[in-house]
């Protein structure tokens, strides 16, 4: 009984992870500029990989009776590092003057950056 239920849960988790990875790939293709693409890449890919790893962990724990701590550590590390990676990429893009999409409304970082550039040059 519990084996059947856990098989369904594991299958659901892995399918959900694959689905969110697909969504993030479509998002990277469809969205217009670096910043909105980073939204899709960092968020959906994080949850996608997390659910796949969680499914793998539960599979080996419940069905094979083998508890793998490394998978849990992998979940923790991805959870901590992928938002930081997204932040760094978009920050580097902004400081190398990659333009925002033309429909963008406001840009409050611009004035601050202008003032800073004046000091440096």
């Amino acid at each position: 009984m519990i084996e059947t239920i856990s098989k369904f849960v594991i299958g659901y988790l892995i399918l959900q992870g694959a689905f969110f990875s697909l969504i993030s790939a479509i998002g990277v293709l469809r969205l217009p500029d670096v910043y909105t693409r980073t939204h899709a890449a960092s968020k959906s890919a994080t949850l996608g990989v997390l659910s796949i790893l969680l499914g793998v962990f539960l599979y080996f724990w419940v069905l094979e009776d083998h508890m793998n701590g490394r998978v849990l550590l992998g979940i923790l590390f991805i959870f901590l590092t992928s938002p930081v990676a997204g932040h760094l990429i978009s920050r580097a893009a902004y400081h190398t003057k990659v333009k925002l999409w033309e429909n963008s409304k406001i840009d409050e970082l611009k004035e601050k950056k202008k003032a800073k550039d004046k000091v440096h040059s």
């Binding site: 969110f20 969504i23 993030s24 479509i26 998002g27 469809r30 969205l31 217009p32 500029d33 910043y35 909105t36 980073t38 939204h39 899709a40 960092s42 968020k43 959906s44 994080t46 949850l47 997390l50 959870f79 901590l80 938002p83 930081v84 997204g86 932040h87 978009s90 920050r91 902004y94 925002l100 999409w101 429909n103 963008s104 409304k105 406001i106 840009d107 409050e108 970082l109 611009k110 601050k112």
Partner: protein, 158 residues
């Protein structure tokens, strides 16, 4: 907080030595006794009883998970909608947090919040520059959520 945890470990080890029984169960009983002793003596510590901080950390983890799921549903809606109707933009957000680790956790939380993304942090650690996917209707709501994040983080470091 770290000092109180260390003290609790020392009480547990003393209990093991008193029982002359070095198993995990004895350590656990000693740890529970240590919690009771530290709770009874809490007014002698400069900071509050440490289990409150641990409860705040657990609450923060749950906020993290909830926001991650909500963020993904928001991204799903944006990516799969037939027309790109969003209005992205960058707005500034003043924060009251001071320590570096608090600001790191806040910006990680903001990054995993639906539709927002930290691009830059000013040099004096006072302003976060946040890229938002839909600036028209979201900005005010985001500010509300962020004040709740800030509150949760302050609760941890109190």
């Amino acid at each position: 907080m770290a000092f109180q945890i260390l003290l609790n470990f020392i009480i547990a080890i003393t209990w093991m030595l008193l029982q002359d029984d070095y198993s995990f169960i004895t350590f656990f009983i000693g740890y529970l006794l240590g919690i009771i002793i530290l709770f009874a003596l809490r007014r002698f510590f400069p900071r509050r009883f440490y289990l409150y901080n641990i409860a705040a950390v657990i609450k923060l983890i749950f906020i993290f998970l909830k926001e991650l799921i909500l963020a993904n549903i928001a991204v799903l809606k944006i990516v799969l909608s037939p027309k790109l109707k969003m209005e992205p933009g960058i707005f500034a957000f003043e924060t009251e947090l001071e320590k570096d680790w608090e600001i790191t956790i806040l910006s990680n939380l903001i990054t995993l919040t639906p539709g927002t993304f930290v691009i830059d942090i000013s040099d004096d650690n006072k302003t976060l520059y946040i890229h938002s996917v839909d600036i028209a209707n979201v900005e005010q709501a985001r500010k509300d959520i962020k004040s709740s994040f800030e509150k949760a983080i302050k609760e941890v470091s109190r």
